[in-house]
C-alpha cells in the first residue's frame, strides 16, 4: 500500500463525480432561461475538469508521480497508487483503488476521450445538463477500472448505466425511449446474474480474519486478496472452489461481461443504443464502456478461474469467431451509417474475444491493444457519423453523394477513420489485428486445431474492407448529382464541420497514427502485464497438475 496523495480517488473519480453532481444540483434550481444562459460556462467548467483529469493521467504515464513503479515492469498483483479506506466493515467492503498496466491504458483512454467528447459535441443542446452528465459518465467509468474491491467494482459498473441512460433518453434520436430502456434492462439483467455469481464466490472463499475481512462474514471483497487465494487454490491441478462450482461461476460472471462487450448472441442492445444515442454518448459508449466487459474478464474470471477458462476455451473462441463474422456480415446489409459502425464494433469486439480465447500472451496483448486502439478509433467513427447527422440531418448511406466536394474536412475525417477501422497498416487498428492473427496461427499450430479456424477471420478482412469502402464510396465520392446538395438539407447551404469538430478529429487522427507507428508506447506495458500474468499465474496453474 502506497502512501501519499490519493491520485486516483481525488482527481480521477471524486472530482468528476462530485463536480457533476454539484453542477446538476446547482442547475436544478434554475429557470430554463437561466440554464440556457449558463450553458457555455458549465461547458467550460466541464472541459477544465476533464483537462485536469487528463493532465493527471498523462503525468502518471510519464512516471512523474511519487511512489510509483514503472508500468511495464509492475509485478502481477501489485498496483500503483493503491489506497484503501474502510467502507462497510461488517462485510469486508472497502473503498479500494489502484492501477496496474491492465487498467491504466483504459483510464488514460477515458480521460483522453472526455475532453475530446466535450469538444466534438461543443454545440450540443441543453448544455448545462449534458456536459455534467458526460463528466459523471467519465467518473463512473474510471471507477470501474480502478476499483480493487468487488463491491465497489459492481457499484461503479452499474453507476455507468445511469448517465448513459439519460444521455440516450434526453439527447437521442427518434426511438430513444425504446433504445434507452432496452440498453438499461439488457445490461442490468446480465449484471445481476453476475452479482449473484460474485456473492456466491464471496461466501465460498475460505473464512479468515484480518483488516480486509468482514467482521461478521469473515470474507473479503478485496480483488487482489481473492486472486492470490485463487492462485494458491488453483495450483497443482486443483480447482479453486471445486470443478463444477468454478465452471458455474465462470459462466455467471461471463454472462455479465459478454453482454457488456457485447458478444454475438447478446449484442442486440448495442446497435439500438448506438443509433439512438447522441454523438457524445456513442463516443463514450463505444470508446470505453464496451471495454468494461473485456476488462472485467481479464480482472476477474480469467485470473480466478483459469481452469474453467481453459475448459470453455472452445466456446470463447467460437463466440469470438461468430461475433467477428456475424458483425461484419450484418454491416454489409446496413443502410444507416451509424448502425453499420455499431455492428463493426461488434465485429471488433470479436477480435478481442478471439485474442482472449487463444490463451497466448500475444493474443492477450492483442486483445489489450485492440481495446485501446478501438477506444481511439471508434469515437472518431461516431464523431463522423454525428457530424453527418448534425450537418446533413441524415445518416442514410446513399442519401448523400459526392460529399468530398461539399465538405472536404468531413470527407477527409471519414476516410481516415474508416481506413483506421478497417485496419490500414501504420494505423493503430492494424497492430492489434495483426497480433491477433499471429496469435491465432500460433495457437492453432500449438494445439493442433484445424486450420479452418483461420477462414473466418481471413474472410472478415475482405468483408470489412468491402463494407467500409462501399459506404465511403457511396457517401463522399461519386454518384448522384454532385452539384446539388443532398435532399435532406432541404435547400439549405451545404456546411462543413465546425471548428470544434475539426480539432477533435485531428487529435484523434493524430493519436491513431501515433499508436500505429509507435505501438510500443502503450504495448510495452500491456506486454509487461500479460507476460507477468502468464508467468506468475497462468502457466504455473495450467501446466501444474497436468
Amino acid at each position: 500500500m502506497t502512501t501519499g496523495i490519493d491520485w486516483i480517488s481525488i482527481p480521477l473519480v471524486g472530482l468528476p463525480l462530485i463536480s457533476s453532481i454539484v453542477l446538476l444540483i446547482f442547475i436544478g434550481n434554475m429557470s430554463a432561461a437561466a440554464r440556457e444562459k449558463l450553458g457555455p460556462s458549465i461547458r467550460m467548467v466541464s472541459l477544465i475538469v476533464s483537462f485536469i483529469m487528463l493532465g493527471v493521467t498523462t503525468m502518471m504515464f510519464f512516471g512523474q508521480m511519487d511512489n510509483m513503479g514503472d508500468w511495464a515492469t509492475l509485478n502481477f498483483g501489485s498496483f500503483n497508487f493503491e489506497h484503501r479506506y474502510e467502507w462497510i466493515e461488517a462485510l469486508g467492503i472497502h473503498w479500494s483503488v489502484g492501477m496496474d498496466a491492465l487498467s491504466f491504458p483504459m483510464v488514460w483512454l477515458t480521460t483522453f476521450l472526455l475532453p475530446i467528447t466535450i469538444v466534438a459535441t461543443w454545440n450540443e443542446k441543453n448544455a448545462s445538463v449534458y456536459f455534467p452528465l458526460i463528466l459523471m459518465m467519465g467518473g463512473a467509468l474510471i471507477g470501474v477500472f480502478v476499483a480493487l474491491d468487488l463491491f465497489m467494482f459492481y457499484v461503479f459498473w452499474e453507476l455507468t448505466l445511469i448517465p448513459m441512460f439519460f444521455l440516450i433518453l434526453k439527447w437521442g434520436g427518434k426511438d430513444r425511449k425504446y433504445a434507452s430502456q432496452k440498453f438499461f434492462i439488457y445490461t442490468f439483467t446480465a449484471s445481476v446474474v453476475m452479482l449473484l455469481g460474485l456473492v456466491t464466490m464471496y461466501f465460498l472463499q475460505p473464512e479468515s480474519s484480518g483488516p480486509l475481512f468482514g467482521t461478521w462474514t469473515g470474507r473479503t471483497f478485496d480483488i487482489p486478496t481473492l486472486i492470490s487465494h485463487s492462485q494458491a487454490a488453483n495450483a497443482n491441478g486443483m480447482w479453486f472452489l471445486g470443478e463444477s462450482m468454478q465452471k458455474v461461476l465462470f459462466v455467471m460472471l461471463m454472462i455479465g461481461f459478454l453482454v457488456k462487450l457485447p458478444s454475438v448472441p447478446f449484442h442486440t442492445w448495442l446497435p439500438d443504443a448506438h443509433v439512438q444515442a447522441p454523438t457524445g454518448g456513442s463516443m463514450l459508449l463505444a470508446g470505453v464502456m464496451l471495454k468494461m466487459g473485456a476488462y472485467g474478464m481479464f480482472r476477474l474470471p480469467l485470473a480466478m478461474f483459469p481452469h474453467a477458462a481453459e475448459f470453455f476455451q472452445f466456446w470463447l473462441l467460437a463466440l469470438g469467431m461468430v461475433s467477428l463474422v456475424w458483425g461484419a456480415v450484418v454491416c454489409l446489409g446496413q443502410t444507416n451509417l451509424k448502425k453499420m459502425v455499431a455492428y463493426s464494433s461488434v465485429s471488433h469486439m470479436g477480435v478481442i474475444l478471439i485474442g482472449i480465447a487463444t490463451m497466448q500472451p500475444l493474443g492477450w496483448a492483442a486483445a489489450l491493444f485492440m481495446m485501446f486502439a478501438h477506444g481511439i478509433i471508434s469515437p472518431m467513427l461516431f464523431a463522423v457519423c454525428g457530424a453527418f447527422k448534425h450537418h446533413y440531418h441524415s445518416m442514410e448511406i446513399g442519401a448523400m453523394r459526392g460529399m468530398a466536394k461539399h465538405s472536404p474536412w468531413l470527407a477527409t475525417s471519414m476516410m481516415f477513420a474508416w481506413m483506421a477501422s478497417l485496419g490500414l497498416p501504420l494505423l493503430a487498428g492494424f497492430v492489434a489485428e495483426l497480433m491477433m492473427f499471429l496469435a491465432l496461427w500460433h495457437f492453432l499450430a500449438a494445439e493442433n486445431w484445424s486450420v479452418f479456424w483461420m477462414v473466418g477471420p481471413a474472410f472478415v478482412l475482405a468483408i470489412t474492407a468491402a463494407y467500409y469502402l462501399w459506404s465511403m464510396q457511396r457517401t463522399i465520392f461519386e454518384g448522384g448529382d454532385e452539384t446539388q446538395p443532398p435532399a435532406s438539407l432541404h435547400g439549405e447551404p451545404v456546411p462543413d464541420i465546425a471548428d470544434s469538430e475539426k480539432i477533435s478529429m485531428v487529435i484523434m487522427a493524430a493519436f491513431t497514427i501515433l499508436f500505429g507507428v509507435m505501438p510500443w508506447i502503450a504495448l510495452d506495458m500491456m506486454n509487461g502485464w500479460t507476460v507477468a500474468f502468464f508467468e506468475q499465474l497462468l502457466i504455473p496453474i495450467l501446466n501444474g497438475g497436468v
Binding site: F151, V155, L161, F165, F188, V193, L196, G242
Partner: protein, 567 residues
C-alpha cells in the same frame, strides 16, 4: 441480567417512554383543537367560570394544520426517545406480571419502533398540507367539520403507531394480536379517509373485509395453539414446539397464523386487497401500509417462524414450514413483478412492487429454514441466520426511505385531481425537476441500482440467502455445484425477478422525463412545504444508507441478535 418490571411498577414509564409520549399525544390531539372561550355558569348563580372546552375557538387552535403539527411533533419525539435508548448500549427490560412476560424492550423492538415512528412521522409531516381543509376564516358547520377531520386522521395515525409498537414489544401471542388489530383497524379507516373519492371508500371496504377475514383466520389459529399448549407465551410455545412440533394441530394453527400475517406483508395469494387499498388510500397512508404495516407483519412472521416454530429446535433438523414458505415466496415475488408490469396506475404498480418485495423477504426467511442445526454446523448456521435477519431489518428500515418517498411524490400528484394514471407523471421534470429526480432516485433504489440504499438491502438479502445455502459446502472447501442447497435457486429467482422489475421502475422514469405533461397538469404542482421536506429527508436517507451504511448494519445486527439470542 434483564430488568424485570411490573406493569405500572418502578421504571415502567421510562421503559415505555416512546409509547407514553404517543398516548399523551393522543389526548393532546383530542383536547387542544377544542379549546375555546366557553364559560360554565354555576347553576342558580350568575358566576361564570371559564371552562375552555368548546365555544368560540381562538385563531391559533382553529388552524386546520394544528393537529398535523402536533402529531408530527409527538411522532418525532417518540422517534428520538426510541433512538436515544440505543446510545451507550441498550438495556433489555422485560415487563412481566408474575411469570407471564408481556412486553420486552430490546434492540429488536426498539429498531422496529424506529421504523414505525419514522414512517408515521414522515407520513404525518407530509399530510399537514395535504388533507382537505377549509380556510380558517370559514366558521360554517361544514367548514368546521372539515377541519375536525384533521384531528381524526392524526388520532388514527397515533393509534396505528401504538398498535404497531405493541406488536414489536409483545412477548405473548395474544398481546401481539391485540396490537396488530389496533393498528389494523386504524389503517382500515385511514385507507377510506378520502371519502370524497369513490376509490377511497371502495379501497377501505375491500381492505377491511379481506383484512378482517385474514385476522379471523389468524385468530382461529391462535385459539388452536392455545388449545394445544395452554399458553400463548412465546417461551412456552417454543418449548412445546420443540417437544412435539410435528403434531397436526400446531401445524394447522401455524398455517392459519401464516395467513393472518401473510395478509399484513401482502404475500401472494393474500395480496389481492393490497393494490386496491394502496390505490385508493391517500398517498402518505399508502406509504405507511407499504412500509410500517408491512414491517409489523414481518415482526409477526419472525416471531412465529423463527422463535416459536424455530428451525433450531426440530429434532430431525428439517423445518416444518420450509417448503410452504419457499413456494409462497417464489409465487409472491413473481406474481408481484408480473402484475406490476401490466399496471398503469403508479400506486397499483408500487403496491405490486411491494408484493414483490414481500416475496424477497419471504425468500430470506426461507433460507433460515434451510440451515442445518446439527452440532457440526450450529455455529455457522447461527451466523447465517443472523446475517439473514440483519438483511431483513436493513431492508425494512431503508424501505421507509424510498418506498414511502415514492408514495409521497404521488400524493402531491393526487392532490391535483386524482392522478391515477402513469401519464399523470408526464413531464414532471419540466414542472418540478427536484420531484422528478427524487422519484427517479426512489425508483432506482427500488430496482436495486447502486449506490442507493435499495441496492445494498437487496445485496444483503441475496448474501444472506447464498450464505445460508452454502454453509454445508463451505466447511469442506471443494464444492460441487449440485451439492449446494436448493435455496440458492431462490436467490437466482430473486435476481431474475429484480431484473424484470427494472422494466416498470424505469418506465416511471421514462414517463417523467420523456412525456409531455397531461392536459390540465401543465402548471406548477400544488404547494406544500412539509411534503417536500419529507421527500428531501427520504432522498437524503436513501443516498446516505446506500453509501454509508456501516452503522445501520451494525444496528440491525444488534437487533437481529436480540431476536435470535432469545432462544
Amino acid at each position: 441480567m434483564d430488568d424485570v418490571i411490573k406493569p405500572f411498577g418502578d421504571g415502567f414509564v421510562t421503559a415505555l417512554a416512546p409509547e407514553f409520549v404517543l398516548v399523551i399525544g393522543l389526548f393532546t390531539l383530542m383536547i387542544v383543537p377544542n379549546l375555546g372561550d366557553a364559560k360554565f355558569r354555576i347553576p342558580l348563580t350568575q358566576v361564570r367560570i371559564p371552562w375552555l372546552f368548546g365555544g368560540k375557538r381562538g385563531t391559533l387552535d382553529s388552524d386546520p394544520r394544528l393537529p398535523g403539527i402536533f402529531a408530527s411533533l409527538f411522532f418525532v419525539m417518540a422517534f428520538i426517545l426510541a433512538a436515544v435508548s440505543f446510545i451507550g448500549g441498550m438495556e433489555t427490560k422485560t415487563i412481566a406480571s408474575g411469570t407471564n412476560e408481556l412486553l420486552k424492550v430490546d434492540e429488536f423492538s426498539r429498531l422496529f419502533e424506529l421504523i414505525f415512528y419514522g414512517a408515521l412521522a414522515l407520513a404525518s409531516i407530509a399530510s399537514i398540507d395535504r388533507l382537505p381543509a377549509t380556510s380558517r376564516k370559514d366558521r360554517s358547520v361544514s367548514g368546521l367539520y372539515n377541519n375536525r377531520r384533521q384531528v381524526d386522521f392524526y388520532i388514527l395515525l397515533i393509534t396505528c403507531g401504538l398498535g404497531m409498537s405493541v406488536v414489536a414489544l409483545a412477548q405473548d401471542l395474544f398481546l401481539l394480536f391485540i396490537g396488530l388489530e389496533l393498528a389494523s383497524f386504524s389503517t382500515y379507516v385511514l385507507v377510506a379517509f378520502m371519502k370524497e373519492t369513490k376509490e377511497g371508500s371502495e379501497a377501505g371496504m375491500k381492505y377491511f373485509i379481506v383484512g378482517s377475514v385474514a385476522s379471523g383466520v389468524g385468530l382461529y389459529g391462535l385459539s388452536l395453539l392455545y388449545l394445544w399448549s395452554g399458553s400463548l407465551q412465546f417461551e412456552e410455545l417454543t418449548a412445546h414446539f420443540n417437544a412435539t412440533g410435528m403434531d397436526p394441530l400446531p401445524l394447522t394453527a401455524l398455517g392459519m397464523l401464516l395467513v393472518g400475517f401473510g395478509f399484513k406483508v401482502s404475500a401472494a395469494p393474500f395480496h389481492f386487497a393490497a393494490p386496491d387499498a394502496y390505490a385508493g388510500a391517500p398517498g402518505p397512508v399508502a406509504g405507511v401500509l407499504a412500509t410500517a404495516s408491512k414491517a409489523m407483519g414481518i415482526v409477526g412472521l419472525l416471531r412465529i417462524l423463527l422463535v416459536v416454530a424455530a428451525p433450531e429446535g426440530m429434532e430431525d433438523s428439517t423445518t416444518v414450514w420450509l417448503i410452504a414458505l419457499a413456494v409462497l415466496s417464489v409465487i409472491t415475488m413473481t406474481w408481484g413483478n408480473i402484475a406490476a408490469l401490466g399496471s398503469t396506475n403508479p400506486k397499483r404498480m408500487l403496491a405490486y412492487s411491494s408484493v414483490a418485495h414481500a416475496g424477497y423477504m419471504l425468500a430470506a426467511i426461507t433460507a433460515i429454514g434451510a440451515l442445518n442445526w446439527d452440532a457440526a454446523h450450529a455455529d455457522t448456521s447461527r451466523t447465517a441466520a443472523l446475517a439473514v435477519v440483519t438483511a431483513l431489518m436493513f431492508h425494512l428500515v431503508v424501505l421507509v426511505c424510498f418506498k414511502l418517498g415514492a408514495f409521497l411524490v404521488l400524493s402531491l400528484l393526487e392532490s391535483e385531481n386524482g392522478g391515477h394514471t402513469l401519464e399523470s407523471l408526464g413531464g414532471l421534470v419540466k414542472r418540478e425537476p427536484f420531484l422528478a429526480v427524487a422519484m427517479f432516485i426512489f425508483m432506482m433504489s427500488l430496482a436495486g441500482v447502486p449506490p442507493l440504499a435499495g441496492f445494498l438491502s437487496k445485496l444483503l438479502v441475496i448474501m444472506g440467502i447464498v450464505k445460508a445455502a452454502l454453509i454445508e459446502s463451505t466447511a469442506s472447501g471443494n464444492v460441487t455445484f449440485s451439492e449446494i442447497h436448493w435455496v440458492w435457486y431462490l436467490a437466482l429467482i430473486m435476481v431474475i425477478n429484480s431484473a424484470i422489475s427494472v422494466f416498470y421502475y424505469l418506465r416511471v422514469g421514462l414517463v417523467m422525463f420523456f412525456n409531455e405533461p397531461e392536459e390540465g397538469r401543465e402548471g406548477p404542482l400544488p404547494r406544500g412545504t412539509s411534503v417536500r421536506l419529507a421527500i428531501v429527508a427520504c432522498v437524503a436517507s436513501t443516498i446516505y444508507f446506500g453509501v454509508g451504511a456501516g452503522q445501520l448494519i451494525a444496528l440491525c445486527e444488534s437487533a437481529a441478535n436480540a431476536l435470535l439470542g432469545v432462544r
